[in-house]
Symmetry: C2
Subunit: 300 residues, 2 copies
């Protein structure tokens, strides 16, 4: 009867067992969103610390708690590794030999090339069950808050989510990951890991560095200056309040692409600086207008 109920409630494509490893804000939100939107029948979670596992066991969006990553994945159809980017590879290595046939492993890391290469190689090397794939993900969602307790079932609604297949995985497995993120409400974009890292270096990592540096400069000025600021400065620097440790990990994982993006920005800024120093109002008007045209073109 339960099975009938289940097969009645869930489409045939729903994830049967979803395992989430090391949930923070994103992992907790994945679990809550999957439960709220019925994207998974059963949700299994592993967390590093026992006190966190006990707290998670009490959540309505957690069906089972595992004592180790190895046991957490043993019958999972989809595994979401929600650990910080620097800890993802080690978790892939731990679970690789324990995955069920046709299991798909993904993550939520902000940098993809190195993780996707490592994931593909680690699963192959483990000689684990057939049809298993690692397919990276990067939901462009977040919050100034951290930790699974701040998770939000609507965190992914309408937000872009990158899915980054490496070495052409089986279409059925790729579809499982894409469908899962779509079921959570995000707008999925599939592209190669290297291309992902180049793009986010420009649209996410560079803005973070700029906001941080505006903050360090203004932090070196009299404190009352900043209190006089209008909404412009407040908006321009909002992301400077993001978690430093997470960003240090991202800088380390994507340093090559970020350095290229920084070169491009510093070139533009240098040209603007020279035009202002030379009182070249025509060049400055062109740059102000190009910036406005670009910003006006952003979807609301």
């Amino acid at each position: 009867m339960l099975d009938i109920g289940a097969s009645f409630r869930f489409s045939k494509n729903v994830v049967r067992t979803l395992t989430i490893l090391a949930p923070g804000l994103l992992g907790g939100s994945v679990a809550q969103a999957a439960r709220a939107r019925e994207a998974a029948e059963r949700i299994v979670i592993w967390a590093q610390r026992p006190e966190v596992r006990l707290a998670l066991a009490e959540q309505p969006w957690c069906d089972a708690i595992a004592d180790s990553p190895e046991t957490a994945v043993h019958d999972a159809q989809l595994i979401v590794i929600a650990a910080p980017v620097t800890r993802i590879n080690e978790l892939i290595d731990r679970i690789a030999p324990h995955l069920a046939t046709h299991a798909v492993v993904t993550d939520v890391g902000s940098v993809k090339a190195e993780i996707c290469r490592h994931g593909a190689n680690a699963l192959a090397a483990a000689g684990s069950a057939p049809g298993i794939e690692f397919i990276g993900s990067h939901p462009m969602a977040g919050s100034a808050l951290t930790g699974w307790a701040h998770g939000d079932p609507e965190l992914f609604a309408g937000c872009p989510c990158f899915v980054t297949p490496y070495n052409s995985p089986a279409e059925s497995q790729l579809t499982t990951v894409v469908r899962f993120w779509r079921d959570l409400g995000s707008e999925v974009v599939t592209l190669p890991p290297d291309e992902h890292d180049e793009i986010v270096a420009h649209i996410s990592h560079l803005p973070q560095i700029i906001a941080t540096n505006l903050g360090t400069l203004l932090g070196s000025k009299p404190p009352n200056w900043s209190q006089l600021a209008g909404n412009g400065l407040r908006d321009t620097t909002r992301i400077a309040a993001s978690d430093s440790t997470m960003w240090l990990d991202i800088l380390e994982q994507n340093s090559d692409e970020i350095l290229r993006a920084l070169d491009g920005f510093e070139d533009d800024l240098h040209h603007f600086h020279s035009a202002l120093a030379n009182r070249d109002w025509t060049a400055l008007r062109t740059r102000l207008e190009r910036g406005k045209v670009w910003r006006d073109s952003l979807r609301p």
Copy 2:
């Protein structure tokens, strides 16, 4: 009877006749706020174009329309020049010989040093009636919208407003300007024009240039990149959509202070760039944390 009604409705400190010259978004908002908050008994407006004057004459917050700046100011106690920064000095020169005794002239320009020097000298040179002062103002309020028709009586509520006395004007006149902006709901900060220009170069003009340059860089990349952006990029670049002509005027008027602020930002960014290139994670963590500490310190 009307006078009795007026003296009953208005405190003895209210501006009797407020004249607004060349209203745009800010000038229109000053008139609406002054009427809504009863900060002036009578509001006289001059606009350059006759069709605008006809439209203004129909507004409940406009008591009289003048055909020229000279006639607009003849019995005004407080004159607010709302023209773009590049047109303020010429209007000061035109009205200087026509001001009433003890009239106070102010403006809403984003740059203050040159305008305040010119204002003080022009009024002195005009040998106009006694007690007349020019005292600059800069309400840190705005909108992506422009034009008096987008004016908002609450535009100044809670926003910082700089008042920048030059050559120690009479306290009573300074108080008139400060009280007026407070009556409109803004938080007034009085400081010298040069100091104002240094501060806004850092807290307003530099963020604008950074947002513009992020826009020009991303505008040179495939358009779909920007459509993948999350809220971080959207917030960081919001002000890049501001009016190009207004910003070109500000760049021209405050170029020296802006170039100094740009030097400081480019130095910080260069150090960040070097630390990343050298994989100096300690230095990068320090910078990320300093930026976060500064941003967390901003008033909400």
